[in-house]
């Protein structure tokens, strides 16, 4: 249970400028072609094994939501089919809520959509409310709820029983941070218990933390299928490429099989990246050491608005720290074509022990998508070693002080 197979899924949307044009199409029995066709999916095939967690990524209009709709069964594909083993549940149940009815009445109605009888919903009501934390407003019309509250109620009901497949839309991003964490916790627990996840998100950290596989969609096709981190880096590079028209170069580096992805219009290129402590090149540093990071680069065109950026990621691909010279208020001198230049960053490695990768970027202006010269994911890796017995957990060593004080002791009975 929980497996899913999509074979040759195509979806073509037809739109007509005027309703009359559709009538002409219908009456001509397909000989007239007045419709404007939009190919949202052009033949998507993939297989998901039971228990896998797959993220769907891609730009707006790439076909992610259409694909999720097809998997959910709300959108009928023009061609191809979907086989689903087991019970699949989507999370946008709250959209069907009726504003004028109370939260409770809506729960019963939504339960019916999930195939739960009134008695079954009543039986799990305590559990739903414990999760949604909405006991006090359950009798109020849903009209008075915030979008986050609706989501909570719908999520709590949809996930009251562990489904075989959970289809998660961007809907999840509506909730506040506390509830998002709660949802993610529950999703993780389901996944650990064997639920297959299909997740659409624009949030790279959601994909990297929840998924063990990602599909990149573009123009209605799956153009990349692999580990989330690899696919996201490719996607990032590909986003920049869309404005620059350059090839993306992806290959393996380092011990752990980390993939390095590089893109940009190459008006400037990163030649080398050197990590050093006290003048000595290093690939291992100790917690708390001061690290110098130098990016050696060459300009192939005049650069008058250069920004150099770096980013550190942990083993899982989560960004630990990232910044650039624009954000730091560092101005670049104008650089002529053909000259070389070096950007230096000095930081204290207040990082938890573990492996980190460095991403470096050269671009114009504030963000890399505008005009990216060279964006190089995972140029190199380095390790942080403990400086003694472990005194903290996590990737960030925050400056911290701790005290314990006795406020009021027990009565002295010795008198």
């Amino acid at each position: 249970m929980g497996g899913l197979r999509a074979t040759g899924i195509e979806k073509t949307y037809r739109s007509y400028r005027r309703p009359g044009a559709r009538l002409v199409d219908w009456l001509s029995l397909g000989r007239a072609h007045r419709a404007r066709e939009k190919h949202a999916l052009r033949g998507v095939s993939f297989e998901v094994r039971p228990g896998e967690a797959v993220g769907l990524v891609g730009a707006n209009g790439a076909g992610k939501s259409t694909l999720l709709g097809v998997l959910k069964g709300t959108i009928e594909p023009t061609a191809g089919d979907v086989e689903i083993e087991g019970r699949a549940v989507g999370l946008d149940l709250g959209l069907g809520f009726r504003d004028d009815l109370t939260g409770y009445d809506n729960l019963i109605a939504s339960g019916a959509l999930l195939g739960l009888s009134r008695r079954e919903v009543d039986a799990s009501l305590d559990e739903v409310l414990a999760f949604a934390e909405l006991d006090d407003v359950l009798g109020d019309p849903v009209r008075t709820y915030s979008s986050g509250m609706r989501l909570r109620l719908a999520f709590a009901l949809a996930t009251v029983e562990r489904p075989d497949i959970l289809l998660i839309d961007e809907a999840l991003s509506v909730g506040d941070a506390y509830f998002q964490q709660k949802c993610i916790h529950r999703i993780r627990r389901f996944h650990a218990a064997g639920t297959t996840l299909i997740l659409v998100s624009h949030d790279p950290s959601a994909i990297t933390t929840l998924c063990d596989r990602a599909l990149l969609l573009d123009g209605g096709l799956v153009i990349r299928d692999g580990r989330p981190r690899e696919v996201l880096e490719y996607y990032n590079a590909w986003l920049a490429r869309r404005t620059d028209g350059e090839n993306i170069d992806q290959r393996s580096i380092g011990r752990s099989g980390t993939t390095s992805t590089r893109s940009g219009n190459r008006e400037a290129t990163i030649e080398d990246l050197v990590l050093s402590c006290e003048g000595q090149p290093r690939d291992q540093v100790v917690v708390g050491e001061t690290v110098d990071l130098a990016i050696l680069a060459r300009a192939h065109a005049p650069l008058d608005d250069l920004t150099v950026g770096i980013s550190l990621r942990d083993r899982l691909g989560n960004e630990v720290f990232g910044t650039n010279t624009y954000l730091l208020g560092v101005e670049s001198p104008p650089i002529e074509a053909g000259s070389t230049f070096t950007a230096r960053f000095r930081f204290v490695a207040e990082l938890g022990p573990g492996d980190y990768s460095v991403t470096a970027a050269l671009h114009a202006g504030r963000v890399h998508v505008e005009n990216s010269y060279d964006w190089w994911d995972n140029v190199s890796t380095f390790s942080v070693l403990p400086d003694g017995p472990p005194r903290f957990q996590g990737t960030a060593r925050l400056p911290i002080e701790a005290t314990i004080e006795r406020e009021d002791g027990p009565r002295d009975r010795s008198d």
Partner: protein, 261 residues
């Protein structure tokens, strides 16, 4: 269809319940209006037409006969138009639901039938009380119109699914249907007896499939006449045809329908 009705009984019951809940929201009488509305309607037709205006039927001279005649036609006509006009918005009003959750779409027309059927049952019960009070209640004649009712409901449901589906693609269908229903009402002998209509209009009205249907109700209420099925062949055939056609149309356009919502 019956099997899917049983399999999705929870969902259908929930859609019906939701419909009545939505009507009782912010109304202090709540579901009481379901009884009050038809009661007032019946009272107006029997009392105002029959007693105050003293309108008389050429065939029956009893003081309230005209009022009962109007009620027999109007209550069933109301059921008919309710099904068709609510059918018009059947898919449009459930747009978000259809787009966000997978569920058997046939649950929508079935729940529509149940909602309008419950309302109709309430008005029939009130009307039956009136007939009992007037000593004009004829159980056998009234039971004999049940198959007639089935034909009318079948026709209405077929039209409802047809216009409901087309309405998603062409909003003109909404306006056209309402105008068409108004013409249909006046071309059906509901507030007037067929016998007062002069030729050639009369032969046209006789071709209206609702004429024999309404005639059967009126005969059963006023004369205790058991419905004769000879005249009902054409309307029955039409109902089956429209129902089958509407289902084929719905199946053919089902995929595009959700895309258009």
């Amino acid at each position: 269809m019956l099997r899917s009705l049983y399999a999705h009984r929870t969902l259908i019951a929930s859609l019906v319940r939701q419909e009545f809940q939505l009507r009782s929201v912010r109304a202090s009488w709540g579901l009481g209006w379901l009884v009050v509305e038809p009661a007032i309607q019946i009272a107006i037709y029997t009392l105002i037409f029959g007693a105050v205006l003293a309108a008389r039927l050429p065939s029956d001279d009893a003081p309230l006969a005209y009022g009962l005649y109007v009620c027999a036609g109007l209550l069933t006509w109301t059921l008919f138009t309710q099904i068709v006009t609510r059918g018009l918005d059947l898919f449009l009003s459930h747009a978000t639901l259809l787009k966000s959750v997978r569920f058997p779409r046939s649950a929508l027309p079935i729940s529509l039938l149940l909602v309008t059927g419950i309302q109709f049952a309430i008005s029939v019960a009130i009307f039956a009380c009136v007939l009992l009070a007037l000593g004009r209640f004829d159980g056998i004649a009234l039971l004999s119109v049940v198959p007639v009712l089935a034909i009318q409901i079948g026709l209405a449901l077929g039209l409802a699914i047809t216009v409901g589906t087309l309405h998603v693609f062409f909003r003109d269908v909404g306006y056209t249907t309402n105008i068409f229903l108004q013409f249909w009402f006046w071309l059906t002998p509901i507030v007037y007896p067929l016998s007062i209509v002069p030729e050639p209009a009369r032969s046209w009205i006789e071709r209206n499939p609702l004429t024999p249907i309404v005639g059967a109700y009126q005969g059963a209420v006023l004369d205790g006449a058991v419905a004769s099925f000879g005249e009902l062949g054409p309307p029955a055939a039409l109902a089956v045809g429209v129902l089958a056609g509407s289902w084929a149309l719905f199946r053919a356009l089902g995929a595009d329908l959700v895309d258009e919502l």
